[in-house]
Symmetry: C2
């Protein structure tokens, strides 16, 4: 299958529900434990997704759609959540993400994006030209990648408890 | 964190909701496309999870808890879903999984499992002795592993559409 705006939106609009069903109401150990070292916990990942909604996807889409002279995206801060999520509960973050995503999808829809628009380009600070189609595809894959990551981080909490079953669970070695 | 029956149940009981929010109502292309070759689509994976509820987890837990002479588990059929899911819709499979999981968790709770019970053993046909603690930990990690797999399978549908962003999305190479 290849990129289609309606089908991409099917994923983007359900991510808040997926994250809520995956995390809301879980014990703190599930929420705040990471994969060791500098890796991210589920709590950290939701903060990262919020920062993306605030500073990345739709802002970059608007730059890409614009005819302005400055088409280079501002670099994304991958560590912003460690400051921004401080003092908040997971439940607050899930609500914040839900509200931001909803607002961004309303903005996206208001653009009435055409096939021609999908070929418009913006400039990524690291690798240069990227089309709107590529940016929106990445938004979808990025959501799904972080849902997979959250599942993996939680699965790994039982890495040792599974004992001899470990060989049947490739997720524990990723 | 290490295995705890209540915290394990927190995950097991929410998996039907997670799968529903992840998949219910999606276009067929998201549901029936796999990662190529003999890999599984999201539809196949739900069938596999149903077969586990029917023939694996609680049945093996009951064998493990029993004092009967025969403690060897029946080998699990990893391909049963290709026959069993035929003619069913994804929505039917999600409901079937939800009902089976609910029934199995009621059975699990009815056992009033003690710490001593968690050390009881059954015999896996491939690797031998395994405790109830290991079996139940595996049930949890197996759920999370397949949620991650479904997310990955869907993310990979945009493997080429993301263009130069591919290097930022490790999920696409897993």
């Amino acid at each position: 299958m290849s990129f289609n705006l309606n089908k991409a939106t099917e994923i983007l609009e359900r991510t808040p529900d997926v994250l809520t069903s995956l995390l809301e109401g879980l014990s703190d150990e599930w929420i705040y434990t990471n994969e060791g070292g500098e890796t991210w916990s589920p709590f950290d990942i939701i903060g990262h997704l919020i920062h993306g909604e605030k500073t990345d996807w739709m802002i970059r889409a608007e730059i890409t759609l614009s005819d302005g002279p400055e088409k280079t995206f501002t670099p994304f801060d991958r560590f912003a959540q460690f400051e921004e999520s401080k003092g908040k509960t997971l439940s607050q973050l899930l609500t914040e993400f839900r509200d931001l995503r909803k607002k961004n999808l309303i903005t996206l829809q208001s653009k009435n994006i055409t096939d021609e628009d999908l070929d418009k380009t913006g400039i990524h600070p690291a690798f240069g030209d990227t089309t709107l189609r590529q940016l929106l595809s990445t938004w979808v894959a990025h959501d799904l990648g972080h849902i997979a990551q959250i599942s993996r981080v939680m699965a790994k909490q039982y890495k040792y408890d599974v004992g001899p079953w470990k060989n049947y669970l490739p997720i524990l070695d990723r």
